[in-house]
Subunit: 230 residues, 2 copies
């Protein structure tokens, strides 16, 4: 039982959960008891079980102890790459075309999303991302210039707003949502698909503390699927 790493402890705990030695809902031994049983320090057990708790397989509460979760909520994590990198990772050649760029008051839904006054002038950028010369993804973005100093003079014809913002602003958090939309006429023309086609769409807003940076809607060409492992 020598050389008990936290990974080994975690693996053993996982085994017991899966083998129902620790059935769902059951309380498992103390960190101290486990440490003694497995021949390692309590900190090592803590490290192992903390991750399992974060993964949703265990529930830990002071005094109440550690219990096996009744309904293990699986958590998946996926990366949000720069679109160019996404295309490259598919083995295709990325391309980029700036469609339009203007400073204008944002429409109500956008300014509401960013919690800005309705008439606040935002930078509106629309661009098309290409993979091997074919339309890949349509980007429709509103940027709060106050949160992105320099963006008004940035050259967004060669570098996407996405990339510029990642490199030049410090954002702390945001929201994402995924859904499906039917292609309207304009979108269909740009993406080279039929009007009404089912398209995958990602919406994202990002913040620097309480200050809104940008709201973006990415509409992908037909057949696009986002993949990840759990």
């Amino acid at each position: 039982m020598a050389a008990m790493t936290w990974q080994a402890v975690q693996a053993e705990a996982l085994r017991r959960i899966r083998a129902r030695e620790w059935p769902p809902g059951a309380r498992i031994p103390d960190e101290e008891d486990l440490a003694r049983e497995l021949g390692c320090a309590r900190a090592t057990v803590n490290r192992a079980l903390r991750d399992l708790a974060e993964a949703g397989l265990l529930e830990r509460r002071r005094k109440a102890g550690t219990h096996v979760a009744l309904t293990p909520v699986r958590k998946a994590t996926f990366e949000i790459p720069i679109i160019r990198q996404d295309i490259e990772s598919r083995g295709q050649t990325p391309g980029y075309r700036l469609l339009s760029r203007s400073l204008a008051p944002a429409p109500a839904p956008v300014s509401a999303l960013l919690r800005l006054p309705a008439d606040a002038p935002l930078l509106h950028v629309r661009a098309l991302h290409l993979a091997d010369e074919a339309p890949f993804c349509l980007e429709d973005r509103w940027i709060n210039p106050a949160a992105a100093p320099g963006v008004e003079t940035a050259d967004l014809t060669t570098i996407s707003a996405n990339e510029w913002l990642v490199r030049n602003t410090a954002f702390s958090g945001g929201d994402i949502d995924f859904g499906a939309v039917a292609a309207d006429a304009g979108t269909a023309a740009l993406l080279g698909c039929a009007k009404g086609a089912a398209l995958f769409e990602i919406g994202r807003t990002t913040w620097a503390g309480a200050q809104p940076i940008t709201a973006v809607r990415l509409t992908y060409g037909p057949g696009y699927r986002m993949r990840t492992a759990i």
Copy 2:
């Protein structure tokens, strides 16, 4: 500088990254130096920076030291709840209707996905999930009976296969993909939407080690959006 918790260290590191005191690409001080500077143990610094590295903001390599990531890849995590819980969390009343259930050889795409022989008999379950009596999500699932002992006699009219599997099998991993599809006639009828409507779809395969458990396709009603925070 007393009472330096790992959260405080992490916050300070984040601040320096955002303030460009540690600009993108720069090498930051050793754990030991930071510990001395901030007045805490090296383990505390390690704990703080490890999380930032996992989040993609830092890159850590032995000997090479710790560097601020050039292109911070944002990682989002989202939970994969049991559909019933998803509906409940929206403040709606979940409902469930088993549509069909049969033991049959899986079609080629499914058996290939699960890496099973083409003629392997799988349990095919189709069900409709309701929210406040309205169609919410269509579930089309193939289950490997060998990996889910007891499923053949389970009563899937009151509990969804999803829920039964979560409670009765021990899965270790899987894949997920998201996309958009146009509703075919059958799907449209069941979900109460127009044929051709853009629908959000989640595909998932899960495994117990090398043994495939189930492949499922969830097709959500129009307008559904999956949300999460980063």
